[in-house]
């Protein structure tokens, strides 16, 4: 085999350009976690925040979750209601996987010091046999005292900027800096709030940020780079809620649509639209856990969302007389299920998204609370604006930043615009939504990436020294 000109370890780190060469940016959401180098325009590593736990001992991330196996449970380290970290051990685990394993060059250091074999994660190595010796060495190194120098910590050369939800708790913020400083030995750390990063990335220091994400939709007023705490509104009307609407619509279809995720299908034959599927399903010698099945179904629903679902553009509600007849006369879209069953979707694709705007139009979801009027997007905006000073409102309405992956639904911005014009007649309303899909999906990450790469930003970071002197409480003082 031909020799590689450079091994991973010897590639110069300055190829990324920018002043702050090695700063890392981490943006954690309920559906996806994004990590990458500051100064780049897209995150290098984007993984689902869902991870697989094999028999409760070993965690697998990303594509490894897609293979069904015995004892595999799919979990999430974030809480769905809040989009903040719930399981810190798993969070540390997945972040290390992304920041250290995927983004750092391999280092010629002893495994006991790279943080991956710390006693609490040692279980991860079990069952692989060949690492048993290193384990023993690791245990010995730990036992021999605090010999690990800062230089040998995995992120000793990389400042880390993390984003956080605006409603993140003080405790969670302290925990984040603790992990970065103590576990990874990062020389500098900063937390920035997602709406601020998204507003900055749109070139605005003051803006009304509407973030339509996976688990939550939030509306936050940002003024001169500071979030107005009282204005923060959030609701579950995001991507996952939309999935539950689709499922409810499929369940009520005649005939009922069978949700067969891709992994179940061994082979399929083409069938006519509306005809029952004739697919051969896979058999597994073990029980596939319900959480794995649910995760796979969610992936199918996401595909349907991305390719079929649309938002009624307005003006007015979709349920207003005449609209549905109009939609029925327009061409629909065909969606083929993994098992080959396919059919045309017309009015349904508007109906599922209507609940985001009009609670009366939401489809019933068994086992979950129905969406309330206050949780619809127009009401969130109204509530947010009612909580800010009346003098700021015109400026906020003229500077609305739309971000988040679920805002990419076709027609979303048109509808938002028409709802706002109806709610605030005579006001100047201007939406700013990035045209590139990546800028919308990774809005907050990109903002963080630019901020961390600014030459002047190095004086802002909370340094290791400050942390050592003041403890984790420094985060509340500095990152306001």
């Amino acid at each position: 085999m031909a020799q590689q000109p450079l091994t991973t370890a010897s590639v110069p780190t300055d190829i990324y350009g920018g002043d702050e060469v090695s700063a890392l940016v981490l943006d954690a959401g309920y559906c996806h976690t994004r990590a990458g180098f500051a100064g780049e325009d897209v995150p290098k590593s984007v993984l689902p925040s869902f991870y697989g736990s094999v028999a409760g001992t070993r965690n697998v991330f990303g594509d490894e979750c897609l293979v069904p196996r015995a004892d595999l449970e799919i979990k999430n380290y974030m809480s769905r209601a809040e989009s903040v970290v719930e399981d810190w051990d798993a969070a540390t685990n997945i972040w290390e996987h992304m920041l250290i394993k995927s983004l750092q060059p391999e280092r010629e250091i002893h495994p006991s010091k790279n943080g991956l074999n710390d006693p609490d994660t040692k279980a991860a190595a079990d069952g692989e046999g060949d690492v048993a010796m290193e384990d023993a060495a690791a245990a010995a190194a730990v036992a021999s005292g605090e010999a690990t120098e800062d230089q040998e910590k995995p992120l000793a050369e990389s400042p880390l900027l993390m984003t956080e939800a605006p409603w993140n708790s003080g405790k969670a913020r302290e925990k984040a800096i603790e992990i970065a400083m103590e576990n990874w030995g990062t020389p500098a750390f900063w937390l920035t709030r997602t709406p601020v990063a998204a507003a900055f990335a749109a070139g605005k220091a003051s803006a009304l940020v509407i973030d339509v994400g996976g688990a939550n939709t939030s509306v936050t007023a940002v003024h001169d780079g500071m979030i107005l705490k009282r204005s923060i509104q959030k609701s579950p009307a995001g991507g996952l809620w939309l999935s539950s609407q689709i499922r409810s619509m499929w369940d009520s279809c005649e005939p009922k649509v069978d949700v067969v995720p891709t992994f179940m299908v061994e082979s399929k034959v083409p069938v006519d639209a509306g005809a029952p599927a004739q697919a051969k399903l896979r058999k597994f010698p073990f029980d596939v856990s319900p959480s794995f099945r649910a995760y796979e179904e969610e992936r199918l629903l996401t595909e349907f969302k991305e390719s079929v679902v649309e938002v009624w553009k307005g003006p007015g509600k979709y349920t207003n007389p005449g609209n549905e007849e109009l939609v029925k006369s327009q061409p629909g879209r065909i969606f083929e299920m993994p098992d080959g069953a396919n059919q045309m979707w017309r009015e349904q694709r508007f109906r599922v998204s209507e609940g985001m705007w009009d609670d009366a139009a939401a489809l019933p979801t068994p086992g979950a609370d129905p969406i309330t009027k206050a949780q619809t997007i127009p009401e969130l905006i109204r509530a947010c604006l009612n909580n800010v000073d009346v003098d700021l409102r015109p400026n906020l309405l003229g500077n609305i930043v739309v971000t988040g992956g679920s805002s990419l639904l076709t027609g979303f911005n048109d509808r938002l615009n028409s709802e706002l014009s109806a709610m605030y007649p005579g006001m100047r309303i201007k939406l700013h939504a990035a045209g590139l899909t990546t800028e919308r999906r990774f809005g907050a990450w990109i903002g963080g990436s630019i901020l961390a790469s600014l030459g002047t930003f190095h004086q802002m970071w909370i340094s290791k020294k400050e942390y050592d002197e003041n403890g984790a409480g420094i985060i509340e003082k500095r990152c306001k």
Partner: protein, 152 residues
């Protein structure tokens, strides 16, 4: 200090005071230095023509790190004068404009947005602030409406 850590040069404050106190200038345009570390004065002028001023903002450029030149954001202070519709004479309002065209590079927009606070804090006595993102926002009539709160 601003969130980006950029600082304001003393020249900015001097030029602003010349405008505010000595009435030497009609407007001052500020920009970030090429290394994005400091806010400096790009131009101070006593030209009263709004269109000239507007053209200057619209045609402003920003050089990215790779050397590519694209549209650029700016900050500006304009000593805006208008007469009241009620006939009670004229008013002067010192107006701060944060100009960040939507088609400027994302990096440039970000630096300017995150550094604005530093400049705004350094300049005392600003009556109105305008965040402008496209050319309509800095039309004379639009600005007049905002600055005069509809009283012109």
């Amino acid at each position: 200090m601003s969130q980006s850590g950029a600082t304001v040069s003393q020249d900015c404050i001097n030029a602003y005071n010349d405008l505010k106190l000595a009435k030497k200038h009609k407007y001052v345009i500020f920009k970030l230095s090429d290394d994005n570390r400091e806010i400096v004065v790009e131009e101070a002028s006593d030209n009263k023509d709004w269109e000239t001023f507007r053209e200057k903002l619209v045609n402003a450029t920003h050089k990215s790190k790779t050397g590519a030149v694209g549209k650029g954001p700016r900050y500006a202070v304009y000593d805006f004068e208008y007469s009241l519709a009620s006939g009670e004479g004229s008013r002067n309002k010192i107006t701060f404009i944060a100009w960040s065209p939507d088609d400027a590079g994302i990096m440039a927009k970000m630096v300017y947005a995150s550094s604005k606070d530093a400049l705004k804090r350094a300049l005392t006595g600003i009556a109105t602030e305008i965040q402008a993102n496209d050319q309509d926002d800095i039309e004379y009539d639009t600005v007049l409406k905002t600055v005069s709160k509809g009283l012109a």
